[in-house]
C-alpha cells in the first residue's frame, strides 16, 4: 500500500494578496512547478467571487489585506459548503508562534512565513499538499 497512489496531484492553486509584487513573485515561483495552474486575486472579496470558477485544490491567503482580510476570507470559505473543504495556507509576515497557533485554530492547514524563498516555494507547497489527509477532504 502506497499513500502516494491515493494522493491527487496538485493542479490548481489560488494565491490572494493585495501586494502586486508578491503576487507576481508567487506566480513566477509556482510557475516553475510542472503541471500547476496558478491563479491570483488582489483581495479576499475578489477571491470569494472567483472561487466557483477557479475551483483550486489549495488556497494561499495573505493575512493582512484591506477589506476582507485572510482570516475573514477563510471563515467565509468554511461557511460555504462549496469551498469548506478547500485547504487554506496563510502566507504572512505575522508568523510569530502565537499567531501561527491562532491561524491553525481558524482552520489553516499550514502557515508560510514571509519572507519566503521564491526558489523553494513550489517545494514548500508540494510538501504541505502531500502532508494533507486527502481521504478526508
Amino acid at each position: 500500500m502506497t499513500p502516494a497512489t491515493n494522493r491527487p496531484q496538485l493542479k490548481a492553486v489560488l494565491y490572494v494578496d493585495d501586494e502586486p509584487d508578491i503576487r507576481e513573485i508567487v506566480q513566477l515561483s509556482l510557475g516553475l512547478v510542472a503541471g500547476l495552474n496558478v491563479e491570483v486575486c488582489d483581495s479576499g472579496e475578489r477571491a470569494l467571487q472567483r472561487l466557483p470558477d477557479i475551483t483550486p485544490d489549495l488556497v494561499l491567503l495573505d493575512v493582512m489585506m484591506p477589506g476582507t482580510d485572510g482570516p475573514t476570507t477563510l471563515q467565509r470559505m468554511r461557511a460555504d459548503p462549496r469551498f469548506a473543504n478547500i485547504p487554506v495556507v496563510f502566507v504572512t509576515a505575522k508568523a510569530m508562534p502565537a499567531e501561527v497557533a491562532r491561524f491553525r485554530e481558524l482552520g489553516a492547514v499550514a502557515v508560510i512565513a514571509k519572507p519566503f524563498d521564491p526558489m523553494q516555494l513550489g517545494q514548500q507547497i508540494q510538501v504541505i499538499w502531500e502532508g494533507l489527509d486527502h481521504g478526508r477532504a
Binding site: 493585495d18 509584487d21 513573485i25 513566477l28 516553475l32 493582512m64 509576515a93 526558489m119
Partner: protein
C-alpha cells in the same frame, strides 16, 4: 540562462519596482499621519496596513532596513491615537524615508 536564473532576474526587477513605488507611497503616509494629527482616528489603521505591506514586501526583496523601519511604524500605529503616538509615527516615518532613500541610492536611483 535556465528558468531559475530567469526567476532570480525577474525578482531583482520586481524589487526595483517595489522600492520605487514605496518611495512614492511615503507622501501618502505623511498625509495619513497628518490626518491622525487632525483627529482622524481611523487613519491609524490605514497607516498600520500600509506599513505592514512595506514591511512584508521589503523583507521579501532583501530591503531589510526598510522592512525593519516599516515594522516599527506598523507597531507604532497600534492603539489609540494620542500626542505620543503621533510623535512616534512621525519619527518612524522619517526613519523609513531615510532607509528608502538609502536603498534607492544603493541602486543608483537619485
Amino acid at each position: 540562462m535556465d528558468e531559475r536564473d530567469e526567476l532570480q532576474q525577474k525578482i531583482a526587477d520586481i524589487a526595483g519596482r517595489y522600492i520605487q513605488r514605496t518611495a512614492g507611497e511615503l507622501a501618502g503616509l505623511r498625509e495619513l499621519i497628518a490626518k491622525v494629527s487632525g483627529g482622524n482616528t481611523t487613519a491609524v489603521k490605514d497607516i498600520e496596513q500600509l506599513a505592514h505591506k512595506i514591511y512584508g514586501s521589503g523583507s521579501m526583496f532583501g530591503f531589510d532596513a526598510v522592512s525593519e523601519q516599516a515594522r516599527e511604524l506598523e507597531l507604532a500605529a497600534r492603539g489609540t491615537p494620542d500626542m505620543q503616538m503621533i510623535e512616534n509615527l512621525q519619527r518612524h516615518a522619517d526613519a523609513l524615508e531615510s532607509q528608502v532613500q538609502a536603498a534607492l541610492r544603493a541602486r543608483g536611483v537619485r
